[in-house]
Subunit: 231 residues, 2 copies
Amino acid sequence: MERPSLESFTARHHLDSRSLCAQIVEAREGAIAVRSAQAATDNLTRIIEATLRLANRKGFAAMTLRELARESGLSLGGLYAYIGSKDELARLIQAWVSRTLRRVMASALEDIDDSRSRLATAIEAHLLTTEALREWFFFLYMEAHHLASDERRQAVAAERNSEQIFADIIRQGQADGHYGAMNADIAAGLVKAMLQDWYLKRHKHGERGLDVAAYADTVTAATEALLATRA
Amino acid sequence: MERPSLESFTARHHLDSRSLCAQIVEAREGAIAVRSAQAATDNLTRIIEATLRLANRKGFAAMTLRELARESGLSLGGLYAYIGSKDELARLIQAWVSRTLRRVMASALEDIDDSRSRLATAIEAHLLTTEALREWFFFLYMEAHHLASDERRQAVAAERNSEQIFADIIRQGQADGHYGAMNADIAAGLVKAMLQDWYLKRHKHGERGLDVAAYADTVTAATEALLATRA
DNA sequence: GCGAAAATATAACGAACGTCCGTTATACAT
DNA sequence: ATGTATAACGGACGTTCGTTATATTTTCGC
């Protein structure tokens, strides 16, 4: 199976801001005061993209709604046709990026049985997803700690879930005799740390001329090497 | 050489909040309006520890000086005997945690020549330092993006510097024939990602019953395995 | 144990925040 | 061409922010 390019992966899984915003508009039917789904999606996309731009630069708490209005092109009052409050805006973004990762990982892994293929595919899918929605994931990581306890618990659960996917693959590989006896949860944690570094330190990787496919190869090779050891 | 415990390492390198605050008081001679260095250190320690507690829970921007006064036990106006402004408080913490890591890494590595010993020592020193000053490092990581451009550049430079230490060790090991030909900068980046995961996801590791020494062994083994490959 | 000096507490300021609401502009139907 | 539903605007409200000026308490040499 040939490897997907970032573009084809993005298109296949609808990993662009507008697609996510369209889903949000649909799911929040009634909570948004604008009737036309088309226009609502347009404006919500501008609001959320502006939020990611501002919040990732100076922090969500430090971003004011006046800045957001200016940056998104809407008026201050106009924002409230799309969001119930500033806090709800953060919760919206976080909830949707979490469920998008879960959806894409599940989709990318279905019909793949061999444990080593699953490992490489999972690493690649994680990296491509976070690359396509880089600002969304950066926002989730940086702001998740400040959520109220309910949403925070949900974000932690999503994180655990994605790590669990890797741990399960590793255990399968160990059962198949491909990997040594290293603790699968700890190994999965190391993999997750390397994967998150991709979108957390994007600027550094860009300067090095490392692209997402090359980084996927590197992380996969590193993980295979790590798992080959008989700890 | 026997491995240092967290306690002995902390004591040897003065990695407690009060020691750092004492250094800050000394360095800021004149900027603090309280004459007694002893009393000034006491209060500054309470201020900074309260800042780390509040800011790491809800974010520095969302933390108010009224909360900080309550949490630290000082009055609102009294805070200004120790800090010039709220922003300066953040800059103080960030600057001192950066230079502390640099100082400790240099100190831990001196007199160690063998590249494989240097790698294990550097990994261990990094983990023990961030473990001893966990809240400080968490604060640095989470708030560094929001600094003004000057201080931001300084924080990025400190991060590069610590990564460079690992890259240099890896290059030395490659020259000595211990390691394969993998790109040293990229490998150092992966190591750094695993090291930072320790203090960024502290709660998770605690739940797993993983202590800092065991994690050091895991990361060292993973790095050795990774570097053994002939990419 | 008294008075100057140092340290802390209290109170107040202007600015800026999130939110809301009366009004105006636009689009579609009649 | 007129009337009605829809969307967006932008200023004002009450609150809370960081900061500073003033008052009070504590400390300590004599």
